[in-house]
């Protein structure tokens, strides 16, 4: 009897999805492709976006009646892990989690939905703002008379996107609007990140934008979409960690010092074991959290689960990629070896949507609130 005989059909679907996405990325050139794109300026490959769309990647967590595959966040996590393994620069997690996460909750009939699922366009979500001390601050960006004024910060995928889903304030509360990338009065300040990607700092001066949704539902949907993206970023970090560990394990098996492989030194062996264990714990914990999010409807519980996933994934990825550099020795510090790319990607994904200390705090507070509510 084979192993798969005993896998549930759901698990089997995920296994097939993982295989097809992995094959797709490998055929495209794996991590070499990502390195080339980075060296060419940090953009992504629109052709790849279309191929991913054909494989059903972007609509994976969109319900079937909205044009998606309806496979849930667990399937999104499988894809995100594969993205992490080859650090593909395409806006996969931000599209599944943020832009489609917002649209499918607020305006599922909007034509942009189908375009996003089809990989024809990408939309960046602009919701955070920077305060005078440089840290995140309350939203002040205004929308009135069809025009945006103010600014947004830390916009992932700002470069190369066809437009922005902007969460702004209007007189009677929050609003979600769509500004085209070439809209008047929109200035995008680009900030390069460690992995070659960039964050946009947007400023709007009377920039025309179309209203998509308003009222309290906007913030609820935003919180849900952010939770989805947080959990998916965790899954991507799991992929980053796994691949970084594999590369390092290969390296210590072959690299010789004092006439034997460094992987024969007990200290190196035990450290490798600890990284391996951490990696497996992270994979198990993150996958479980995503699966539970799929069977959970309470947004507060879903947010707690997302925090659990991100806290674990960041802790593991930081430790694994940093130790990986140390285990590589001097060559780990060069750009020639892939391991540095994983370190840099881990830096970027850890900083995005909150690091481990942040999410432990959120997790604990959510747990206390649930306990008090019972």
């Amino acid at each position: 009897m084979t192993q798969t005989e005993f896998l549930s059909s759901e698990q089997e679907d995920l296994r097939l999805l993982r295989e097809s996405v992995r094959t797709l990325f490998e055929r495209a050139g794996g991590s070499d492709r990502a390195r080339q794109l980075r060296d060419a300026g940090g953009g992504f490959d629109p052709e790849m976006v279309r191929e991913l769309a054909e494989a059903g990647v972007f609509g994976v967590a969109v319900p079937e009646d909205q044009g998606g595959l309806g496979m849930g966040l667990a399937a999104g996590g499988v894809i995100a892990e594969e993205v992490g393994r080859v650090f593909a620069p395409e806006p996969v997690v931000s599209t599944i989690g943020l832009s489609l996460g917002l649209l499918r909750r607020l305006c599922p009939d909007h034509p942009k939905m189908a375009q996003l699922i089809g990989g024809e366009i990408s939309l960046a979500v602009a919701w955070q703002e920077r305060g005078p001390d440089g840290a995140p601050a309350d939203a002040t960006c205004r929308y009135a008379d069809g025009k945006l004024t103010g600014g947004k910060a830390w916009v992932v995928g700002a470069i190369g996107s066809h437009g922005f889903l902007v969460v702004a304030e209007q007189d009677d509360g929050p609003v979600l609007v769509l500004a085209e990338a070439d809209a008047q009065g929109l200035v995008i300040d680009k900030r390069t990140q460690a992995d070659g990607s960039s964050l946009g700092e947007l400023s709007f001066s009377g920039t025309p934008a179309a209203e998509l949704a308003s009222s309290g539902a906007v913030l609820t949907a935003l919180a849900e979409a952010v939770a989805d993206a947080t959990a998916l970023a965790a899954a991507e970090l799991v992929g980053v960690s796994e691949r970084a560990f594999e590369i390092t394990l290969d390296y210590i098996k072959t690299r010789e010092q004092f006439d034997k492989p460094i992987g024969s030194f007990q200290v190196i062996q035990h450290r490798a074991v600890d990284l391996n264990v951490m990696c497996e714990v992270a994979q198990a914990g993150v996958r479980e959290a995503l699966a539970q999010m799929d069977s959970e409807t309470d947004p507060k519980v879903r947010a707690r689960l997302a925090s659990r996933a991100k806290a674990r994934a960041v802790t593991a990825a930081k430790k694994i990629t940093r130790d990986a550099i140390q285990l590589h020795g001097a060559v780990g510090y060069t750009d020639e070896f892939d391991i540095g790319l994983y370190l840099n990607r881990a830096l970027v994904l850890s900083a995005w949507l909150g690091d481990d200390a942040y999410h432990r705090r959120i997790w604990f507070e959510a747990r206390e609130a649930e306990g008090a509510a019972q």
């Binding site: 005993f6 024969s264 062996q269 490798a272 391996n276 714990v281 198990a284 914990g285 604990f364």
Partner: protein, 383 residues
């Protein structure tokens, strides 16, 4: 006879849970120490009457005949309700060995006595000077007429002072080329002049562990189980299920529960730094449980577990230690005090938990040894 394996997991869990909750004596729940048999005899009688003493044994020998999936549920419920495992060395260690390698006579004689606890067993594996290098054992057994004559010393023999019999690994061929060879598996009665038991006082002042001295102790030749000089392989073969059991989240989960009620009672959660460290520990346990579930699923699918299952033990024992260290921190100026500390209507013995967590990274193959094994058997590292 009930076919437990035919039940759904949920049905079976319900059945087990109901029995424990209805029948297990409240005052024995979550016992902080290992009981002598007299202390739990009453419960053992109930269990025996129910036919539940040996969940893993085949039904033909008086066991429940549970498969791996049902067995895990049984243990999960046992731990959840704080049901003491009792004096289960006979059921867990000797019984399976006799069932697998014993003669018909041995089965007929010993197995019922294990179930009834007429015989209470202790395990003679460790020796002074062997430690993690378990095969490095020196206790000798020589054939003399119809008996084996045993000389040497065992150590860390849990509850030997309350056992009627000992099962042990002894060296029967000192000239074997490898130290794992020439070892046999022997049973012996404790009540004889050649055996002396001394308790070991641990740093927490407890006396559950013993040294057992053999000075021309005797046991009949028919008390050899399996082939002569093949004891090492036999004993190893039985450790497979134990390897996931020793990595179960339950010890850490129970400690975390204690930590939480204690910290809440003492107001330790007012401190955000403590909250962060509690959250770390709680997430360490939660994510460990997810990994444990992955291995348990493997078992439930009927797969054999690989050496990688040892990672559960490494993670959870170190996690357990950190949790008990947090208890001490939460105790503030009481952190060095022996005995239960009262908070509200709970009472937590902080130091006792701390002490209990210490040897978990040493016994069952120290975590250093586990890391050696993982690095070679799982990661394929050389040397």
């Amino acid at each position: 006879m009930t076919d437990w394996n035919a039940m759904t997991d949920a049905e079976f869990r319900k059945e087990v849970r109901q029995f424990f909750e209805a029948e297990y004596p409240e005052e024995l729940r979550h016992l902080p120490h290992r009981p002598k048999f007299a202390e739990i005899e009453h419960w053992h009688r109930k269990l025996h009457a129910k036919g539940w003493v040996a969940p893993a044994w085949p039904a033909e020998f008086g066991g429940m005949g549970l498969n791996a999936a049902k067995l895990l549920i049984f243990y999960e419920e046992q731990q959840r309700w704080g049901v003491n495992r009792g004096r289960d060395m006979g059921v867990q260690m000797v019984g399976p060995l006799i069932i697998k390698f014993g003669t018909q006579e041995q089965k007929d004689y010993w197995l019922p006595r294990i179930l009834s606890c007429e015989d209470i067993w202790c395990q003679g594996y460790s020796e002074p000077g062997a430690g993690s290098d378990l095969a490095n054992l020196r206790t000798r057994a020589e054939i003399d007429g119809d008996d084996f004559v045993i000389n040497g010393q065992k150590i860390w023999t849990t509850m030997a002072h309350d056992a009627t019999h000992i099962f042990m690994l002894v060296r029967t061929d000192p000239d074997a080329p490898k130290k794992q060879q020439g070892i046999s598996f022997l049973l012996a009665p404790m009540d004889q002049p050649g055996i002396e038991v001394r308790t070991i006082t641990t740093l927490s002042g407890e006396t559950e562990f013993c040294e057992v001295f053999f000075d021309n102790a005797r046991t009949p030749r028919e008390n050899l189980v399996g082939e002569l000089n093949k004891g090492w392989t036999m004993a190893k073969a039985l450790l497979s299920f134990e390897r996931i059991f020793i990595g179960s989240p339950s010890l850490a989960q129970n400690a975390l529960g204690q930590l939480e009620s204690f910290a809440r009672g003492r107001g330790a959660f007012d401190d955000p730094v403590f909250r962060d460290r509690f959250a770390q520990a709680a997430l360490d346990v939660e994510d460990h449980a997810a990994l444990y579930a992955r291995f348990a699923d493997q078992l439930k699918r009927g797969e054999t577990l690989g050496a990688d299952v040892s990672m559960l033990k490494i993670w959870v024992t170190e996690c357990f230690q950190r949790i008990t260290e947090l208890m001490i921190e939460a105790a503030g100026p009481d952190g060095g005090s022996i005995g239960p500390l009262q908070v509200g209507n709970v009472s937590v013995d902080v130091l006792s938990s701390f002490y209990k967590a210490r040897p978990t990274t040493i016994y069952g193959g120290s975590n250093e040894i586990q890391r050696n094994i993982l690095s070679k058997a799982v990661l394929g590292l050389p040397g």
